[in-house]
Amino acid sequence: MNRVAFLVRSYNESAEVVRENMSALDRALGSRGGWDVTVVFVEDGSAPALALRPTEFGLAHADLVFVRHPIRLGPGAALETAMEYVRRSAAPFEAIATFDPDGQHVPEELCTMVETLLAGGVDCARVSAVVMGSRFLGTTTSMRPARRRLLRAARWLLRLFYGFQLTDAHNGMRVFTRRALESIRLKSSDFSYASELLEELRKAGARLHEYPVTIRYTDYSRRKGQKNANALAILKEMILRKLVP
């Protein structure tokens, strides 16, 4: 039986949206057998706190670990907390998947990404490999042109800074082997963690594969998600990381 961890972070999410997405994940897990799943849910100091008790997540096919930051640290730090839980865990997780519970991601596709990684027959404890979701290989609904242009620019910057030829630099759907996860230590607390993560993977010599995924832009996710103006802050962080390691 494969041990799989799903890392989910949440900040000021609506209880209804979280419940909907966790149910969608549970349905996707229910249609698959042979996995021993743990969901690590990090609540990043939301104010007001998430109006959903861990018992109300509706997960019937996975264990749930609920971690709450007493104060807000940021999306990068929340992901690092979830990763740290997995690193410290005695359970031999083989695949570790990340996604956001704001409705942009399709849990069913994430499960297929996990299957893709496990089907490759890689030794997850020894091989550093990651399957990254790509909205440019898959489909997107209602993406604004400005966001599309920005993500294309990010693709070129990523190539320039880290030498990766990815089509989608900032996609929250990722599946890591245990070995890949062990090699990552995120220091960036904000959204610039995505480029730091790639830098860490480059240092570790990880193999990166892209998988076409669907990203659904809804009014809710637009309100909640990254603003285009964050791009400058991310670029500044990328430059600073090169100058002040």
Binding site: T55, L59, A62, L64, V67, H69, E84, V244
Partner: protein, 114 residues
Amino acid sequence: MIYRLLGLVVLAYFFLSLTGLRRRRAVASRVLAVYQLILLFIILAFLFPDASNRAAHFVGITRGADFGIYSLSLFFLFLSFRLVQVSRASQESTQRLVREIALQQAVLLRRRGS
């Protein structure tokens, strides 16, 4: 002349305050040494303006005042990078602390039937 004297008093006051901080070990002595060195240069430039001109000529700059401005620009650049480092280190400590507390208080819910 009076402005020069006032300036010197202020600079001397800063210099002595830094020495006090050094004695109390409130700030890393390496950092304080850099600040004291800079203050010493400024005091010397106040006392001997011609010397600053000579120092400027020595490094290929026309005026002592220009030399001062270039040096200060470099110093501020160094200072901003240093501040980035310090603020990042402090942010990382906070993160580690909050993460540790959060992980210690993590709640584990086993699925039904397991």
